[in-house]
Symmetry: C2
Subunit: 410 residues, 2 copies
């Protein structure tokens, strides 16, 4: 029989052994062999702990402490089991493991709850195998239908539905019933940024998951000989792009610190040292918790980019290719967390999440929130991802108290 963990530190190491990559990272993409082994191992562990388990038709794993009243609603707590390629041990995994340990503790200490308490190990969030993110929470909440995503293929051309069926799921997936019994959704997660560490806070209480807009900007000039074309005769696409990017960052300074913007990707054509660039394509990622502020910012730099292009006789095309509105986390849940932190003298920080999470899908169907523990150096999606056990345990303690309040206290 499998050796199951007895505490949070052991649980993190145990789960990271499923999909352990040679570099110390974890690769556990949706429906892969390590993913299957991890989900089934979690199921066995929960059964051993006396938590009743079931898979839904697409591979989300649930572990339940049922209430006495069959009409009781369900408090759902968990995160996602999948990872990026060579990701860390904590992203997603921590939220599931803490939820299991919390339910086990509550069951042992307080017995049967008044609300159903359910752990969920969501099948997928990262979008690292199929070009679709949050399919686990998306299907549960009805944000996606199975029909919409079943034909999407991975980089090897394997369809979502094929991979799902090979992993042993898919029966009745077409008729997935969106749940209407969820009272609230709670997620515990590492921050994936440096704020809590820099501010020396133990818990991040998330008010808003920020909105995102991502653009692809194509600047076209004229490719010419770097030696024979005088500066005044050039239409240098890279020079134009440089002025735009510099302008973007100058604009960003005029906003509050919740505005973040990034040029992460840039391609030059023909990209030869002695040829003036004829074309540059770059991306812009802009995020802010307020849709109005984000829109105003994007309108500002768009207008300026067109002016820069026009002044330099360059052609420009800007395409908005990805857009997510900001999502508010539930203030009642957050007030409870804040009260718990105050009572327990746990240092907290009320903040926004710059990254997307499953909680934002649940927020459209029930009160939902996510809380953070620190990430060392802000590093995530990397084998170097790390949070000390003590810091993880503070998060678990707050989660236990929150679930106790919600499910056991009248």
């Amino acid at each position: 029989m499998m050796q199951f963990p007895t505490n949070l530190a052991e649980a993190i190491e145990w789960l990271s052994s499923f999909g352990a990559a040679g570099d110390g990272g974890v690769t556990r993409t949706l429906y892969s062999k390590p993913w299957q082994e991890a989900q089934h191992a979690l199921r066995e562990w929960m059964e051993v702990l006396g938590i009743e388990t079931r898979f839904d038709s697409i591979g989300n794993l649930f572990g339940r402490l049922g209430a006495a009243d069959s009409r009781a609603q369900t408090i759902l707590v968990g995160s996602h089991i999948d990872t990026v390629l060579s990701g860390g041990k904590y992203d997603g995994a921590y939220g599931i493991l803490a939820a299991i340990l919390a339910l086990s503790h509550l069951k042992k200490t307080y017995g049967q709850p008044m609300f159903n308490l359910e752990v969920v190990s969501l099948c997928e969030e990262e979008g690292s195998r199929f070009p679709i993110a949050c399919s686990g929470s998306g299907i549960i909440t009805g944000a996606y239908s199975f029909a919409e995503i079943k034909g999407v293929s991975d980089s090897e051309g394997i369809a979502f539905e094929t991979a799902m069926r090979e992993a042993g799921f898919g029966v009745e997936a077409e008729n997935y019933k969106v749940r209407d019994d969820i009272h609230s959704f709670i997620e515990l997660h590492i921050e994936q940024g440096p704020s809590l560490e820099k501010l020396a806070k133990s818990i991040g209480i998330v008010e808003t998951i920020v909105g995102q807009k991502r653009f692809r900007v194509t600047v076209k000039g004229e490719s010419n000989h770097a030696g024979t074309t005088l500066m005044k005769w050039r239409k240098d696409a890279l020079h134009g792009a440089v002025l735009m990017i510099q302008d973007l960052y100058e604009w960003a300074k005029a906003y509050d610190e919740n505005l973040v913007t990034t040029v992460g990707q840039l391609h030059v054509e023909p990209n030869v040292s002695n040829v003036i660039p004829g074309q540059v394509v770059f991306t812009i990622d802009a995020r802010h918790p307020l849709e109005s502020v984000l829109s105003t910012f994007c309108e500002s730099f768009t207008k300026r980019f067109l002016e820069i292009a026009s002044a330099r006789d360059l052609q420009i095309n800007m395409e908005l290719w990805h857009e997510v509105p900001p999502v508010q986390m539930d203030s009642n849940l957050n007030n409870r967390i804040q009260t718990i932190c105050n009572e327990q003298e746990v240092a907290y920080h009320v903040m926004n999440s710059g990254a997307g999470h499953d909680a934002q899908l649940f927020a459209s169907v029930c009160p939902a929130t996510i809380m953070f523990v620190p990430s060392q150096g802000g590093i995530s999606h990397s084998p170097l991802e790390y949070t000390a056990t003590e810091a993880l345990e503070i998060g678990l303690d707050v989660l236990i108290q929150l679930l106790h309040q919600l499910a056991y206290v009248k």
Copy 2:
């Protein structure tokens, strides 16, 4: 028997058929089959024209009108037969074809010259097959020894020497005798830039082939999550690089218009839209006809780049990987060209060459010059390279008169 051209327009089309690429360009890299066919066809044509031919041991082709006096020096005129991948019909080819037509005309019109007159179809200038440029003129002038270059390999791992021997050359290449009989070297070439066209001039008289310095700049910061890392906490390598490139172009404005500088190549790591760039590598190409000005410019931006990196807590490494000093063309030859243009009412422009040419190798061993005809739109190294026949013929006329003065007039 092969059908040989009877005028310059026919000659350009004829030579471009050797290595004709599907896109209208010409690909004739050193020692390739089209290259071999072209050199042998040129030889046959010259023989038909009564010009005595020979190959040297590495594949340079010479066509000679010998003087009566066996002690006479040699006036060498020509350019290179090789091309870039899918290059134009004129680059290099024009200088060889004009030289053959000039010698043929001079022989028919004036008979035997007082100096030996030699066409040279140089085997290689572009550096498009082996990572070495101007091997033809380099070997003739002793700038390179055969021993230095014979082991250099192309992208398929074929050594220079192997390719040379497969093309039928190489006998006695080890003992190549650097020539000491060259009186002067004259090259006729398309401008490969837009100056003559913009100024409506027919002939460019080149005073200096500019000096070049090429740098590789590596900027290192910290790769982080684009959503969770506040702007104030970032070490964005691309933001640093953008400030440097903008600064480079600002510095360039403070110089005369002979200063040209280009960032042609830029690579971002990891180059993902939602990740802050951790590293950027970019190239700088800087050129000016005066070494002192070029050096001062490069020192200026180097100092500023270090300051920008330091101010933003970025690491920087700058490597000077290519350096060519400016080379003066011969003023006596240029004065002759200028006088001819004045007499013939040919509009000329005294200028610098921003591109490198074989003439700069010959300048170290004899009086040498290069003269230009316009390039439409300044376009070169492209199937779109074009110069009208009338413009090519003006260059040929000036060349004929220059060679006549030098080789026939006491």
